[in-house]
Point group: C2
Chain length 400, copies 2
């Protein structure tokens, strides 16, 4: 082991940029024969690659002087129209003027947190929560306080209690960060009747909501629930992504934000990347406007449903007694609760011996919780591989 000393002039926030445990398994998961239940990459095999290649070629050859030039800081009109179309497909009404295109949804989150949080400010988040969001909060020196979930998602009673508790400690809460649909890492969806309640609690408490919705169109049954954004557009910072419904390698996402936040958000976006890739924005515009993207999405949903089902079946067959897991209705993930007293880090050691990897639960908490949990991602492997991976995982749980 070598110790890496940091550059001596670093700011305090540099300390917050810490390695994510997801990264640590990358090397292991790349070894031949190892089954990865770790990464949450979408399966791109459903995409019409030939068509998309033709789109890219035509854009560069015939509109290259625009596609390869700097673009508008807010995003191209075409990309913003594509966002309206995609949100409409999920039943979400959005003011086109509210949309800020970013170089991926991660950047949208980073910008919103940059605008909202001074060092020490508190962000509430489901416990567990998206590991990449925890990284953003840490880097910008915001403190995460987790709010417990159950099978219906974030618990409104727990939200109210947490707000009261944090405030009684004299700490300032700026936002609730939440992934209402097919939550990462649990796969759980926020119950419809909780949505207006959570929106009301935050509005009453003077806390903004950051609604992160990358998976909303990935319901196995195609059913969508009301977005928090629609319930209170002037207090919700909505984050959207083309990564799970088109392609992450293009790096195009967006935020749809309250009127009073748009100007600063655009300026912050310009200060960060000037604009998102114009070529990427144009490819997405063309794909979402002139191609059967919803048909492709239907095939993707069917694929993910079959994979989720394979994981569920294998868990029933192979998980030792006392193991519990979530039953996702969409998205990429299932969340396991190990038998009483079992530790995911011990299970991981045994799993690596069995040539299977996953992300242990502690990665999804900012405060050390999650030692008895782990996440299984089913988005990228086929059903047979997933079944074998879960069998190996079950054996690892039994021996750990």
């Amino acid at each position: 082991m070598t110790t890496t000393l940091d550059f001596p002039l670093f700011a305090a926030r540099a300390e917050g940029y810490r390695p994510s445990p997801v990264r640590d398994f990358w090397a292991v998961s790349m070894q031949p024969g190892v089954i990865s239940l770790a990464g949450g990459n979408p399966d791109l095999s459903v995409l019409p690659l030939g068509e998309l290649g033709d789109v890219a070629a035509r854009l560069v050859a015939t509109r290259g002087l625009d596609a390869l030039q700097y673009g508008a800081g807010k995003g191209t009109d075409g990309a913003r129209a594509a966002v309206v179309r995609v949100m409409d497909a999920e039943g979400i009404a959005v003011d086109p003027d509210s949309i800020q295109i970013t170089a991926g949804s991660q950047m949208a989150l980073e910008l919103v947190v940059k605008l909202l949080c001074d060092p020490g400010d508190v962000v509430l988040a489901e416990g567990p929560s998206y590991v990449g969001a925890i990284g953003v909060f840490a880097g910008l020196e915001a403190s995460v306080v987790h709010v417990p979930m159950d099978d219906g998602g974030l618990r409104p009673d727990a939200l109210e209690a947490t707000i009261a508790q944090v405030r009684s400690e004299g700490r300032r809460i700026k936002a609730l960060y939440t992934i209402p649909n097919f939550h990462n890492p649990t796969g759980i969806t926020l119950a419809a009747d909780r949505r207006p309640e959570i929106v009301r609690i935050c509005a009453d408490a003077g806390i903004a909501i950051i609604e992160d919705n990358p998976y909303g169109l990935l319901a196995f049954d195609g059913v969508t629930l009301p977005s928090l954004h629609d319930l209170d557009p002037e207090n919700v910072f909505y984050l959207g992504s083309f990564s799970k419904i088109v392609a992450p390698g293009l790096r195009v996402g967006w935020a749809a934000v309250p009127r009073s936040a748009r100007r600063r958000l655009q300026l912050a976006a310009e200060a960060t990347t000037i604009c998102a890739s114009v070529l990427s924005q144009m490819i997405i515009e063309e794909y979402v406007t002139r191609h059967d993207w919803l048909g492709v999405l239907d095939r993707a949903r069917a694929l993910y449903l079959a994979r989720s089902q394979a994981v569920q079946d294998a868990l029933v067959a192979h998980a030792p007694a006392g193991t519990q897991w979530s039953v996702p209705r969409g998205g990429f993930f299932t969340w396991l609760t190990l038998p009483e007293g079992a530790s995911a880090s011990h299970v991981l050691d045994a799993a690596i011996e069995n040539r299977v990897v996953f992300v242990p639960g502690t990665a999804f908490f900012a405060d050390g919780q999650g030692q008895g949990n782990l996440r299984v991602a089913f988005s990228l492997e086929n059903e047979a591989t997933l079944a074998e991976g879960v069998a190996r995982l079950g054996a690892a749980i039994a021996t750990a």
Copy 2:
């Protein structure tokens, strides 16, 4: 005029994201008949658009599962190899491990400042300096103190005096931000003999250097000078860009940084955008590896030289007595100093009446300097248009 109220929960730093004066002229400059000497976009007409389109199509069709997927946080190996090749063309040796790919060079700057500067920390910068950098410093609550330049660029004596002065005020200096080659906005190049001196002054003072070099390969005569990075790679954060030598719309840039900064830089980059567009990185890799990018660059340099010359000739013909201007040896810009007592904002009013626009000097200072200066960009208009634009500008100066 309407007043825009900010979202009530904004952090202190939100205040720092202020409109750039360059944006304000965008609307005016888009009106028919208006000649823009304002924007610094590269001229992409030299690019082999058909070839680039074919490259994009082939990458998507045959390697789409990689090109459209998430990529490595540090950048693709191919893009990093392309950076080595491009830096080598400028005579700069670089450790491939030091290279962090970003979604444009602006993002590389933002990340480096994020890592280096706590609120209130001082960044030294040439006076004038790049307006987009001033925006980054403001957003991250760093204070800019300008160091005077002359025809040889940043003055080492002024740098030493400024360091002493700032420190005597009890303020902490973290970095010198400098654009040594064909500086934006002045077009001036840092004299060769000043380079080791500036590197030494900063090293002795314990101040990092941020070397921003988007234009280094755009010398009209092809001559390159030693980079600050090569002189002190463990204290220089080098920022590079494909925007001026390939295409800005792909949004790929990079930083080459000291060993002790690489780990946090990668983590900060991942927290900000996960990765840069993989498709964009692959297009650049292909273009720089298998195409005559240096031949294209030669044509671009010839184009910019002719345009710069047209501006110089027109200034000789039309600038009122007492007007002074820089004579760039590369890049996109000439910097004007108006006759004693003249104000660039008054000149701009007259110029807009004459249907020509430019960016007034105050945009390039964080402290209100530059009222008697303005920037002329010659990168995007042809020679006849530039000559006419400068004639109109000369008339505006005469009447203002």
